[in-house]
Amino acid sequence: MLIAIISLGGLGLLFGGILAFASQKFAVEVDPRVEMVQEALLGANCGACGYAGCSKFAEEVVAGNAPLGGCTPGGAKTAARIAEILGQVAPETEARLVAQLVCLGDCSVAKDKFIYHGVPDCKAAMMYSGGSKACRFGCLGLGTCARVCPFDAITMSEKGLPIIDADKCTGCAKCRNSCPKQVIDMINARTFHYVRCKSTDKGKQVREVCERGCIGCGICVKNCPQKAIRLENNLAIIDSFICNNCGKCVEVCPRDTIV
């Protein structure tokens, strides 16, 4: 019994000593600021900064290769915290961007050309005649954006359109980049009203396939007091940085495309 305690205890002390020595002798020099910056980040590893995960971004920020405000999800708050750690001046805060779905063509208002049966993924559906929606610009509703969102901000509605929770959205733009139809825009988070359509088809064609698509009538353009709306290729586009949320366009839109 005694021999066992002594021998095992002795081994423990010996190895402990070796480990203590090794940790001193072979210690990896880490800038303590890297760890501090990493703690300030959200830790979602979303990749919006362009680096492979939060720890890489932290390293690059400390090394001076990445901008202080590089963490889009963290926004101004994180940028200020990083600036504080690094003893630098926080950059000018830009407006927070959030993802906005730019299509209202759910199954109750938009027509389908055929029944799609296959891999439940928008990119897969795109391979077959550009997807089942009759409108060639419309959201396919198979939820690729919801699956790539690292912050659980996107859920799919029963009618087959993604619902983006603006509070949870950090503006990392992963959904926009994954959408094969490009019906997600990154817009100013303070803007409530937006033309929710991407169709540049002529009015007649839009009417044939969707009840709520923009027909390019231009009524909103004429009525906007801020001149924030322009018409391009039969499609009204609101500049979310000029819009002051007066809501006039929502009232006048004959197709309820602006919400």
Binding site: K113, F114, M127
Partner: protein
């Protein structure tokens, strides 16, 4: 010869009885043809005519400077109405020439028979084939003259006529062999001459004994051509599998048939080559099988390229009301279409109309790792792992599992008890891998 066979493959129901006994009938000359500028793999053609121009039958109306490309010709004589986009079997709208027929079908002056065609040199034959706009008519629409122009270091020893017609439902090649066997043999001889190949094979599945008989008769004891009876199994008519069975050679991964000294041509292509060389006729019509239980009268028809599918269907008595799915080509590798509003192109081997009873829309379930897909895969890849990788977005993993070797025959999807769309996943992987390799 002994009937060696390839690994894997399936035995689906063949459903050929509806049309295999029916002679090919010429379709009514169309009043309007829509001729897409892209009817082949490769660079699309530029239109050579403008709205208002008068064109003759067989006149070249589109061409491209790209090597991997084939010109297109007018299939009627008449007036160009407009140049606009049209629906295409591949799903994306393409530019097309709309021609209104004058009902006269006057041939263009360039279409002249060549009575002394046997004296033509290899180069001349290749040039005629290119100018006639001939592409692989089995469905892949690869320009034929490209296949016949291997780099000089690659010696072609065998020319194979793919007469397996392993796709269920389709009987266009079968009818062609019964009705024009001599032309097929002429086409084969011309190809052999063009690539200077000493030997030819005509591979026919053993479920078409009458075709084997007709072809053997047409070959008439020519010892350089062998009519090979093949085991009836899908995909017997896949290029690489046909080569393996007939010659015992295996096309390497990522390689082409010319790497093992082979050239494969479809039955329809051989007839088109014979017509082009002997009579100067460009490729403007083809045999199409219109079949499936969703059509009133299944038929084999000789249809002009550019005829609208709606018009062809109308001549077969129209759709049955319970039609559920329209496929251009066979059920295994054909392309499902959103509607009949598109033209017949050079690669349209069949118009397949399936009803509720034939279309099964089952829920996609998790893989049970039964490996049936591995057993049936003719190119020895593991579809279950590629499908699983793509399902989770791991395209690099799919590349490691050799997704690029897939021939998209559809055996794995056919056999899968969990109804997993394996081919679609593999196609996604192939698209992604090809895009990354281009970078």
């Amino acid at each position: 010869m002994s009937f060696k066979t390839f690994k894997g493959g399936i035995h689906p129901g063949y459903f050929k009885s509806a049309t295999e006994g029916k002679p090919t009938v010429p379709a009514r000359p169309p009043s309007l043809v829509v001729i897409p500028m892209a009817q082949h793999i490769g660079a699309p053609c530029e239109p050579l005519v403008a709205a208002g121009d008068e064109v003759k039958m067989g006149q070249k109306i589109g061409d491209s400077k790209g090597f991997v490309s084939a010109p297109v010709h007018s299939s009627v004589s008449g007036k160009v109405v407009k140049i606009d986009s049209c629906n295409h079997p591949l799903g994306r709208p393409v530019q097309a020439v709309y021609i209104e027929s004058d009902g006269q079908d006057t041939w263009h002056g360039d279409v002249q028979p060549r009575p002394d065609y046997e004296k033509l040199t290899a180069e001349e034959i290749k040039k005629i084939i290119r100018e006639a706009g001939i592409v692989g008519m089995g469905g892949a629409t690869f320009p034929t003259h490209v296949k016949l122009s291997p780099p000089p270091e690659k010696k072609i020893e065998y020319v194979l006529v793919n007469a397996a017609e392993c796709e269920p439902y389709l009987t266009a090649d079968h009818r062609a062999m019964l009705e024009r066997p001599e032309d097929i043999v002429t086409g084969l001889r011309l190809v052999m001459k063009a690539v200077n190949a000493p030997r030819g094979f005509i591979g026919i599945e053993d479920n078409k004994p009458d075709a084997i008989l007709a072809m053997t008769k047409a070959v008439a004891g020519d010892s350089s051509i062998v009519v090979a009876t093949l085991h009836t199994k899908y995909p017997q008519g896949a290029e690489k599998q046909l080569i393996k069975v007939c010659t015992g050679r295996e096309v390497p991964s990522g390689g082409l048939p010319m790497d093992v000294g082979c050239v494969v041509q479809n039955v329809g292509t051989c007839i088109a080559i014979s017509d082009a060389v002997r009579f100067g006729k460009p490729l403007i019509e083809r045999i199409v099988t219109i079949t499936g239980s969703g059509i009133m009268e299944p038929k084999n028809m000789l249809v002009r390229v550019g005829t609208m599918i709606t018009e062809v269907v109308e001549q077969c008595g129209g759709f049955r009301p319970n039609i559920r799915k329209l496929i251009l080509g066979g059920p295994m590798m054909g392309l499902a279409q959103p509607g009949p509003d598109l033209p017949v192109i050079k690669g349209t081997s069949g118009i397949l109309c399936l009803t509720d009873a034939e279309v099964e829309l089952d829920e996609i379930r998790p893989c049970v790792k039964c490996a049936k897909c591995v057993d049936v895969c003719p190119v020895s890849i593991m579809p279950l792992f590629i499908g699983g990788s793509v399902e989770h977005g791991m395209y690099d993993k799919a590349e490691e599992f050799n997704a690029m070797d897939c021939i998209e025959c559809g055996c794995c999807t056919y056999i899968c008890p969990a109804k997993r769309p394996l081919v679609q996943w593999i196609r996604m992987a192939k698209g992604d891998i090809a895009a990354r390799r281009r970078k």
